[in-house]
Symmetry: C2
Subunit: 248 residues, 2 copies
């Protein structure tokens, strides 16, 4: 069921035109002036469509570009020789994929589409070139990388110090907040990933994720119907995370 190599499923020749894109606020060009914005037009090359379950890139692939998600969503994961998988993140529209490849010029993880998706391809050498000239771009790019580091620290906190229900609560609140930023409902959304993928991300087995969902539902914090989530008690979820619910 695996493909030999990561090949573009579709590479359409359309220019991406950040200035016209409604994702600027969430994406790499955030905070740039109009004049700066127009200089990006020759940076963002083609778009590429990726079908659900297909890889955008794989660990070991040569690194040439980073990718901005235009539509759809992805997961990134790393694999151990013995087959164990760790999902390292879920990415939504406007977010940047591929930063892991800069350090060794090889991608160090897999990026897989969770649904039919489209990305803007940003050639990395062109990005470095242009960001030497466009200060706003340079600065924003650094912020994007730094944000990724901060996000990863948050996940470490989650994996290293939280119990199962706290992890799931943190995950739901994070998803809710990211949907909100994209103009969707904070309270009601559709998860694109399976229980197993959530579990891998949170360092839990899928059964534990499922049970935690059920318990949240019993306690009136959320309603869950398969992948459709409705948050009923945001504050209750937040409280779960902070109050280490132990005696003493």
């Amino acid at each position: 069921m695996q493909m030999k190599a990561t090949v573009p499923i579709t590479a359409v020749g359309l220019k991406a035109a950040c200035a016209q894109c409604n994702l600027v606020e969430l994406c790499l060009p955030f905070g740039m002036s109009d004049s700066e914005l127009h200089r990006l037009d020759d940076l963002v090359g083609a778009r590429r469509k990726i079908k659900r379950q297909q890889p955008l890139y794989r660990a070991g692939d040569p690194f040439e570009a980073i990718y901005a998600i235009r539509t759809g969503s992805f997961k990134t994961d790393v694999l151990l020789e013995d087959g164990r998988e760790q999902v390292t993140g879920f990415q939504m529209t406007g977010e940047i994929l591929g930063l892991d490849g800069i350090s060794t010029e090889l991608h160090s993880c897999n990026a897989v589409a969770l649904e039919d998706s489209e990305v803007c391809v940003i050639a990395y050498d062109r990005l470095e070139e242009l960001s030497r000239e466009v200060e706003g771009l340079q600065h924003q790019f650094h912020k994007v990388m730094s944000r990724e580091i901060v996000r990863d620290h948050g996940v470490m906190m989650l994996l290293g110090s939280m119990r199962a229900e706290e992890r799931l609560a943190a995950f739901l609140l994070n998803m809710s907040q990211r949907f909100t930023a994209r103009g969707f409902s904070a309270a009601e959304f559709h998860l694109r990933m399976t229980r197993e993928e959530i579990g891998s991300y949170l360092g839990l087995k899928l059964e534990t994720v499922s049970r935690a969902f059920s318990r949240f539902q019993d306690e009136g914090l959320v309603t869950v119907q398969q992948k459709h989530i409705r948050i009923l008690d945001n504050a209750g979820l937040k409280k779960l995370i902070q109050h280490q619910q132990r005696a003493c």
Copy 2:
């Protein structure tokens, strides 16, 4: 026991002079030409000495500079409101601290010296400025940030998918490899952090860390005397990580 703010313990006026530093190979200037190297002299401002247990910066501090470790070592950690601590990393000479601050212009974690240490202070606005002119610096800086992201993914793998002994084995091999890169013995070294700090980093309690050390010693993989470690069977440790040691 906490200090109000992070103030320089000592700020010596000495220019750092990367070109003369024996850490270039490990540090930000890696791979830069001699002529590029000399342009760094006015980038790296003062050095700063930090006493053991003192913070270099704290979560919430305004971000102004990143730091290259000249001597000593640090830990970085994040705290939850309820007091839980997650150590997100241990840093050694030549490694860069403070990248987490770029995204929000506030530091998002604490950096604490594990021993009396000295860092080179690199003003961030000057770094951006200079890296617009010096291509090698720009590229190397991006690699350093990317490497941090890749490293964090490795820690997630560890926290999310490995059992206690695998985590400790991975930790020891990682330390060994980093000591080697610094010209120290790969087999014998002195840990600067406590069992509790190791435990926090690995998502384990200190007792579990201690027991795993004892078991490694019983199995002839290492000898442990307090913080002094000698690795007897490198391959054995590696095997521990890959072979998911379950029946079936």
